[in-house]
């Protein structure tokens, strides 16, 4: 169930108003002399019972009236699954990779220390594995802690871009884990209107302390890691010698040492318990007016308190005593092992593996386990909570709570899936051109055959395009090519123009900026076809635009959101020679745009953004016109409950009136 205005539900406590009024408005009995009191003492009990029962009924009735009124204002709608067109229905769900490349990630776990693999390497390998297994129709977002050492990717369908960013990533120096993690569910990477995303957090930080939107993302983390939280900034003795921004682990505390101006050329030596651990020189600057910032680190073999000292050489580099001391506590560093759940595995299986790996419950805190639940229905969350309450050392990152269709097998496929690069994309490039023939005739006339333009036909028959309008007079084409392509074929009854390019292709200049592709293609298309088509419709990323030939002129435009019944004004841009009706959205579904056409009502277009897949092209008769499809989908997708609630409200009001206005009736007592 969804709500048109769920904030109205906050008014639900108003149902208590009748009760409050009942008690507040209770009139104070007035003392009245009355001689015939003997006649009041008969049958009073029965009358009181009747009126008490009536009071309760009326109070409940009035509370129900208010509750129903609030519900009507909130606008409940029952979500109904979309009609299935083919068995290849795909539920798109974002995958957000949260990559911890903070300085701590440079830690080398003892188990793999010999190979020189750091925790970050483990994270990256896991992320690459995940990215390779995510189907191409699912956007991936990459959210590193330190964006300087890893490229952030926002909801990209181009997974190569994600993989390339991961390969180029490395441990950084920033450690704003909480902020970045919070952005994973509140920032632009997340489409709030899409299905619940799968958030894969690859970190050993205490993410449970952050504010997590439990309804959207499930992230479970065991307690021992919470002890990894360390003071972020601390000064050794205060003053101008500052150490900060240094989350630490057992093998190394990364320190940022800042020295005031005048320290140019000085050497900073770090001692732990009297032993020199690290040293660094401040670069010499011309006038010595710049702040010196050097990075130092140290390690401790075990968890204990340590005396930290930092000295300057020469000792008189700065005024005063240039030795700074502080006592810090290094917590124990737990061991870490990793376990993958089998495909389709369940949580109870994971818990059992956890118990086995941890040697039962004897000393579970000594180990850290990484679980990646990937598939099947997630169950037994309460059991997991029990494990956590016992202090089991584990990190469990689970996908969202949504129960997936049987053919989905979890947010990670059970087996690696190789998706053809030229396969249909959810947000591809689509252009509607006006032709005077059916689509098949137009394609044949245009010389587009299976062998020559295989990718085009794949796209046309794929699952990602909006339904093709195959009626005479229109056609929908899409091209996903590695090279910019402009095809033009003419024939007696019409013309087909195919313009497209694969933005993921390495040689594409738009590989890192897919949003810039659409204007380029539209410009090319318009130039090629000479502004003859009625309109071009295209979507790239979150941008959807409709280009209308300049013969239309300046008119009012409106847009109809999926599942809504009200047209909203649409801003019109006016590039050279055309009207550009554009809107940006991550909301998938059927959008409808219309343009005022004096004397002929409206010109309208239906744009399917990542909609239900198109039925097989071999059966054009099964296709619906865009308008019909829109209406059907709108009706089927949500059932408005306002009408039934209104009837219920009317019935309750009639009951209340029939019961009489006796809210404040009191009982009789002597």
């Amino acid at each position: 169930m969804s709500w048109l205005a769920y904030t109205a539900l906050f008014a639900m406590p108003a149902v208590l108003i009748p009760v409050i009024l009942h008690f507040l408005g209770r009139p104070t009995p007035v003392e009245t002399l009355f001689p015939a009191i003997q006649f009041l003492l008969r049958k009073k009990v029965a009358a009181a019972r009747i009126y008490t029962l009536r009071e309760i009924i009326i109070l409940l009735c009035r509370m129900a009236v208010i509750a129903v009124a609030v519900l009507i204002i909130a606008g409940p709608k029952i979500d109904v699954s979309l009609p299935t067109c083919t068995e290849k229905d795909v539920i798109s769900r974002d995958v957000i990779l949260f990559l911890d490349n903070s300085p701590t990630s440079a830690y080398k776990p003892p188990e793999v220390a010999g190979s020189g693999i750091t925790a970050f390497d483990l994270y990256r390998d896991l992320a690459l594995t995940i990215a390779s297994r995510v189907s191409d129709d699912r956007p991936i977002s990459l959210m590193p802690v330190d964006p300087n050492k890893a490229v952030s990717v926002n909801r990209s369908l181009y997974h190569d871009q994600v993989r390339a960013a991961l390969r180029a990533a490395g441990p950084g120096h920033l450690a704003d884990i909480d902020g970045v993690f919070a952005g994973a569910y509140s920032g632009p990477a997340l489409n709030r209107d899409a299905l619940r995303p799968a958030l894969v957090a690859l970190s050993m930080a205490d993410l449970s302390a952050t504010e997590i939107d439990k309804d959207r993302v499930t992230v479970l983390q065991c307690r021992p890691l919470a002890r990894m939280a360390a003071p972020r900034n601390y000064a050794i003795t205060g003053g101008e010698f500052f150490l900060g921004s240094s989350p630490f682990s057992r093998n190394g505390v990364a320190l940022d040492v800042m020295l005031p101006p005048g320290s140019s050329g000085a050497r900073v030596t770090l001692l732990v318990d009297g032993t020199v651990q690290d040293a660094a020189d401040c670069p010499r600057t011309g006038d010595g007016s710049e702040t010196c910032r050097v990075k130092l680190s140290f390690t401790l073999p075990e968890a204990r308190d340590a005396l930290l000292e930092a000295r300057l050489d020469p000792p008189d580099a700065l005024p005063g005593d240039n030795t700074y001391r502080a006592v810090i506590n290094v917590p124990p560093w737990p061991t870490m092992t990793g376990h993958d759940l089998p495909p389709g595995g369940r949580l109870d299986t994971a818990l059992e593996a956890l118990r086995s790996a941890a040697g039962g419950h004897e000393n579970p805190e000594s180990k850290v386990h990484v679980f990646l639940a990937r598939g099947g229905e997630i169950a037994g969350l309460s059991g997991l909570s029990d494990e956590i309450s016992r202090g089991a050392g584990c990190i469990v990152f689970l996908a969202g709570k949504t129960v997936e269709p049987a053919d989905m097998k979890g947010f990670l496929p059970a087996d690696p899936v190789e998706t053809p690069r030229a396969a249909p994309v959810a947000r591809g490039l689509g252009f509607a051109l006006s032709v005077e023939s059916s689509l098949s005739a137009a394609l044949a006339d245009a010389g587009i055959t299976s062998g020559k333009n295989e990718s085009i036909l794949q796209a046309l028959s794929g699952t990602s395009l909006y339904p093709l309008d195959t009626r005479a007079g229109s056609a929908v084409l899409l091209s996903v090519e590695k090279q910019p392509v402009v095809l033009q074929r003419t024939w007696g009854r019409g013309r087909v123009v195919v313009v497209g390019m694969d933005p993921e292709a390495p040689e594409s200049p738009f590989a890192r900026a897919p949003g810039t592709l659409l204007p380029f293609i539209s410009e090319t298309a318009f130039r090629t076809i000479g502004w003859h088509p009625t309109a071009l419709v295209g979507t790239v990323g979150r941008d959807t635009k409709i280009f209308v030939g300049n013969r239309i002129g300046d008119r009012q435009a409106e847009v109809l959101h999926p599942g809504e019944q009200t047209w909203r004004p649409l801003y019109i841009e006016r590039p050279v020679g055309a009207l550009e009706l554009g809107f940006s959205t991550y909301i998938d579904g059927w959008w409808k745009v219309r343009l005022e056409n004096p004397g002929a009502g409206f010109l309208s277009w239906t744009v399917g953004i990542n909609p239900a897949p198109t039925p097989a092209l071999a059966d054009p008769a099964a296709l619906l016109s865009p308008g019909e499809t829109l209406d059907k989908l709108s009706e089927a997708s949500q059932s408005d409950l306002t009408g039934p609630l209104g009837i219920l409200l009317l019935i309750l009001a009639l009951v209340e009136i029939a019961a009489g206005n006796h809210l404040f009736r009191r009982t009789v007592r002597e």
Binding site: V30, F34, I37, A47, I50, R666, T667
Partner: protein, 316 residues
């Protein structure tokens, strides 16, 4: 008629002006008159004027003899039947009955102090005073009995026929409201002991007492041979129970309190009142007495009219 025209116009409850003499018999209007004697006179004369009757004719007055008409006699007193037979003018001479002792048994309990626009005691007292005046005018003797709290004899005026005795009766009736008195059953029992000689007994009370006690007291009076009239006085509130807000009802006699919701008990109250009324009617029928219901918001003319209707031929 000229007297009616001199009456000042008075606004009625509906906002209209009423110049009828009967209107001046409304409790609200008569409450302005402090003197019970004058009030009784207004009731008697105004009521009879309103009915276009002579105030001094027709009530328990017996024909005595004829005498010759002399100028100055009221022509209406000429006996035209005799004239038809004899062709001579005779006028009728009447003789008032003088052998009737009429006693008013005034309920002086605290419950009688209740009522609007006048209390039941004032209303009943005015009615009793008016009836006493009528009886006096026809030459009967009037007296009264009232008992104090605990059944002690509070006021007892032996029936007498003089003018000053009537004034004395008025004074005693005027003193009743505000004086602690006994319930009606005690009044009846005490009166049965006092009134040895048979006569006309008019009981003015709200009869808010157990019916058995009332029946017993009336039975003793009846056993003495008295002709009994029951004037049952209730206020408008007691008749209709018009309250709407929750209230603590306090019984003035006993101080008993009841917190109740009027709307919740109105039906049962009215049913209980109707049951009480039927019980009183049964008692009146069994005792061969007249039961006249009076309401403190009703015009005295209506009350007297009811009373006279009950008394049949118009004789008290």
């Amino acid at each position: 008629m000229a007297k009616e025209k001199t009456l000042p116009a008075v606004k009625t409850a509906k906002g209209t002006e009423d110049r009828s003499p009967v209107f001046y018999l409304s409790p609200e209007w008569l409450a302005r008159v402090k003197s019970l004697e004058f009030r009784a006179r207004l009731v008697v004369e105004g009521f009879l004027v309103g009915l276009h009757r002579s105030p001094y004719k027709g009530f328990s007055v017996e024909f005595s003899e004829h005498r010759s008409y002399v100028p100055g006699d009221d022509p209406r007193r000429i006996d035209w039947k005799v004239y038809g037979r004899t062709r001579r003018l005779f006028v009728k001479e009447y003789r008032a009955e003088t052998n009737l002792d009429a006693y008013f048994l005034m309920d002086s309990s605290l419950s009688m102090n209740y009522g609007t626009p006048v209390s039941k005691a004032e209303y009943g007292g005015t009615c009793a005073a008016a009836l006493a005046l009528l009886l006096y005018l026809q030459g009967d003797r009037t007296g009264m009995v009232a008992v104090e709290e605990g059944g002690k004899e509070g006021s007892f005026l032996r029936a007498r026929g003089r003018r000053q005795d009537l004034a004395h009766l008025y004074r005693e009736i005027s003193r009743l409201p505000g004086r602690p008195g006994a319930a009606v059953d005690a009044l009846l029992m005490r009166s049965a002991d006092i009134l040895k000689k048979r006569g006309l007994v008019t009981v003015v009370s709200d009869f808010l007492a157990p019916l058995d006690e009332i029946r017993r007291g009336l039975g003793r009076l009846r056993h003495r041979g008295h002709d009994i009239i029951l004037l049952w006085v209730l206020s408008e509130e007691e008749h209709t129970f018009p309250f709407s807000q929750p209230a603590v009802f306090v019984e003035p006699e006993t101080g008993r309190r009841i917190i109740t919701e009027p709307d919740a008990v109105r039906a049962s109250y009215l049913a209980a009142l109707e049951e009480h009324r039927r019980g009183l009617q049964d008692i009146a029928r069994d005792m061969e007495t007249d039961l006249v219901e009076l309401r403190t918001d009703r015009n005295y003319a209506i009350a007297l009219d009811d009373f006279l209707q009950r008394r049949g031929s118009g004789k008290v």
